[in-house]
């Protein structure tokens, strides 16, 4: 690509993050913008807030809980103008100034369910034992939503043995019940002036279907809204003190509009699929969805245009060249591309080595037109737009194609061709019949094999309409230790309102105990969202000592409620090398 300079590429940066967790900000107010990334670590531990200057990490702060969003925000009027970084993590907003922890704002607690409260009270008084508590709480959970219970109750219900439950009760019975929420998304809104470095307030969406506007100077809640679903993306326009409009994309596949002087919401856009990214370009909303579509809507919810992209959309971003008045949509695709769309015209494509997981465009260091991207393998890329690059509406390859004027090069008629034509004309019926006969036989054979496979569940594809699954596996390594990547995909076609999750599945491996060991040998699958391949790495070790060892490993997916496996895959393992003795 000749519009972008490859300024930096670190294939082993090992970053795991999302577009909402990347920000570019002038943290030291020296004109040298830093890159801030909330790294999710392994997804369970080692979550850190990293600050990059140029090509190196200059600061790291550990995070206690998974980050869901970061924003840079000016919180005071002090000179020099230094923005703070706010990290949404768990039920709190963590504020960093000059990259030092500065303030922690816990979101207001939610009321605890009365029945739940009295149950725990009874436990404290010794009136209820562990088993009874488990029973009572789980029936309560079935009655009301799980999210209406406290995390203490939910954790308690996950305990498997009675000893654990008793120990849990012992250690928790004197702790007050707290019902906390979780921040799902975070945005900022300028308070009273629109200047670049003006004070902003924070807009947070929560797991309890709420939008809260929080003052960043005093850390008090200014306003809150209730929505019918859980917010995932927030788009803000306007000023808090003057007038503003919020567009909130929720997990029900709808975008709601909120206004300053009303606490009511309005359904603005109903999408046929889940939102992957939502950006505002000038007066319009541009929404990327899971069905590979990018659509543009007016703020009234009227659809202006829609584009179908060649691959799944992973993330979106905005390319805003203020000096040129150029604003375009960037989309990161599953096929490793980052595409730039000006309105509905494709103006540029940048191909990475891997799938872009998060992208962010803005000023980094001293360069205004920098594109930072993190790929799914954890690589960090920095591209800088060439100073001579020009994007015009015409530079794209979209739009009307010119009518073809070139003449086709048709070969001359040969004798052979004429003979064939005559033969086909005379014996057309017989030729067609014999072809159809053979075709039917092939189909029959295929159907028989398929039926046999389905009947014995030995296929890697399931026919069960409730649990349509696809399973495949690849084996890496030369042995004796192999890595097997098992991919499971839910092939149901979903709609936004009915996501058709498949849950409660387990996977197990069958093989000769004399030849292999596998870790894990059996494990539970997470709920499977349709259309997304889930990959699980399995460690297989060949323990047979007599060479050469080679056997088949069978992967089985099953559910507790059915006696028959849902899908089965036979994986023939490669010949294992012997242990290298050094």
């Amino acid at each position: 690509n000749n519009n972008w300079l490859n300024a930096y590429y670190d294939p082993v940066a090992g970053i795991y993050t999302f577009p909402s967790c990347i920000a570019l900000a002038d943290l030291n107010s020296d004109g040298d913008n830093k890159l801030v990334i909330a790294d999710l670590g392994s997804g369970l531990y080692k979550m850190t807030l990293k600050v990059f200057q140029g090509t190196s990490v200059v600061q790291e702060n550990a995070l206690l809980d998974l980050p869901t969003g970061i924003v840079s925000v000016y919180m005071d009027n002090m000179e020099p103008r230094t923005p703070g970084i706010v990290v949404a993590s768990g039920s709190c907003l963590f504020v960093y100034k000059n990259m030092r922890p500065y303030y922690k704002y816990p979101l207001p607690l939610l009321p605890v369910n009365e029945a739940e409260k009295s149950l725990w009270n009874a436990v404290r008084n010794g009136d209820v034992v562990a088993d009874a508590l488990t029973a009572a709480l789980s029936s309560l959970k079935d009655e009301i939503y799980a999210s209406a219970l406290t995390s203490q109750t939910l954790r308690f219900l996950q305990l498997e043995s009675r000893d654990e439950a008793e120990a849990f009760i012992e250690s928790h019975k004197n702790v007050g019940l707290k019902r906390e929420t979780v921040v799902t998304c975070l945005a900022t809104m300028k308070k009273s002036v629109a200047e670049e470095d003006a004070i902003s307030c924070l807009v947070a969406g929560t797991e309890h279907k709420e939008i809260q506007i929080i003052d960043s100077e005093a850390f008090t809640q200014l306003k809150s809204y209730n929505l019918p679903s859980i917010p995932v993306f927030i788009n803000v326009s306007g000023l808090y003190d003057v007038d503003f409009r919020l567009f909130v994309a929720c997990r029900d596949g709808k975008i709601y509009a909120l206004k300053k002087d009303s606490t009511e919401y309005r359904v603005c856009i109903e999408l046929g699929s889940q939102v992957v990214g939502m950006e505002r370009i000038h007066k319009h909303m541009v929404v990327a969805t899971m069905d590979k579509a990018v659509s543009c809507y007016t703020t009234k919810g009227k659809k202006l245009w829609s584009l179908e992209l060649p691959a799944n959309i992973v993330c979106t971003g905005i390319m805003d060249q203020k000096a040129k008045g150029f604003k375009a949509l960037m989309v990161g695709l599953d096929n490793n591309e980052i595409r730039i769309y000006k309105d509905k015209n494709l103006v540029d494509t940048l191909t990475l080595n891997d799938r872009p997981q998060a992208i962010c465009y803005g000023r980094y260091g001293r360069e205004d037109s920098t594109l930072v991207s993190v790929t799914s393998s954890g690589a960090l890329n920095v591209h800088i737009l060439k100073r001579t690059a020009e994007y015009s509406e015409q530079s794209g390859n979209q739009g009307q194609l010119n009518p073809q004027k070139t003449k086709l090069n048709i070969p001359k008629k040969t004798q052979l061709f004429v003979d064939q034509t005559v033969r086909e004309r005379e014996h057309g019926t017989e030729m067609f019949q014999s072809f159809q006969h053979d075709l039917q036989l092939i189909r029959l054979q295929a159907a028989k094999t398929y039926i046999h496979g389905l009947n014995s569940s030995i296929t890697p594809i399931s026919d069960d309409p409730d649990i349509p699954l696809k399973l495949n596996a690849t084996v890496q390594g030369i042995g004796p230790v192999f890595q097997m990547m098992v991919t499971v995909e839910n092939t149901a076609s979903s709609t936004a309102s009915d996501p058709k999750l498949v849950s409660d599945l387990k996977m197990m491996f069958k093989f000769s105990d004399k030849v292999y060991t596998a870790t894990p040998r059996i494990f539970s699958l997470p709920p499977l969202v349709p259309g997304i391949p889930y990959r699980f790495p399995i460690r297989i070790e060949c323990i047979a000592t007599d060479q050469p060892a080679q056997d088949t490993v069978t992967a089985v997916v099953f559910t507790r409620s059915k006696p028959k496996p849902i899908v089965t895959a036979n994986i023939s393992m490669p010949v294992s090398e012997g242990v290298v003795v050094v």
Partner: protein, 184 residues
């Protein structure tokens, strides 16, 4: 100052005037370098970073420096060729601590060398790998990243410098004045 006296001495005899262009990305230290080279009494103390298109001209007895930033996207680029025409030498300053923008500096250099008025002139190019600070790149590394080995038809020289202390500047300026004499 010592360096400049020597340079003036050589050029004085020749009674010729030399125009030298001092370019590089913004914030690379051009203004600081030129200020250091100025005679003592004229030296400026505060240096304001050059933003947008802002030309600095420093004229000494028979040597004049034209300094501008190679920043911005397109808008003022057309003006540059005007300065390219009347130059007898180029000082290209790179911030050796800004690893991220090395690719940008290289891109600007390539475009300068490709520019038709520069391409056909056999003028000397002096590179300053400026900002000799803790983790800055060495002059050798800079010349690698800038692809200097590909410059075949022009004399060039690179030296590490620190414009704040003046380190490395006289080395480079000696080379440049030698070149200016032989070219003429």
């Amino acid at each position: 100052m010592g360096i400049m006296n020597k340079l003036f001495g050589w050029l004085k005899g020749k009674k010729k005037e030399a125009n030298v262009l001092c370019v590089g990305l913004d914030n690379s230290g051009k203004t600081t370098i030129i200020n250091y080279l100025k005679p003592n009494d004229a030296q400026q103390v505060d240096i304001v970073p050059t933003v947008g298109f802002n030309v600095e001209k420093v004229t000494m007895t028979n040597l004049s420096f034209t300094v501008f930033d190679m920043s911005g996207q397109g808008r003022y680029r057309v003006l540059w060729s005007h300065y390219y025409k009347e130059t007898q030498g180029v000082i290209f300053v790179v911030d050796s601590a800004d690893k991220l923008r090395m690719a940008v500096a290289k891109d600007e250099l390539d475009q300068l060398l490709k520019h038709q008025t520069i391409m056909n002139k056999r003028i000397p190019i002096l590179f300053f790998a400026n900002m000799d600070v803790q983790n800055s790149l060495s002059a050798v590394k800079c010349s690698q990243l800038l692809g200097l080995e590909n410059i075949k038809e022009k004399p060039w020289h690179i030296c590490a410098s620190n414009a704040k202390t003046g380190e490395g500047l006289s080395d480079g300026m000696h080379w440049l004045s030698d070149q200016l004499q032989t070219v003429k």
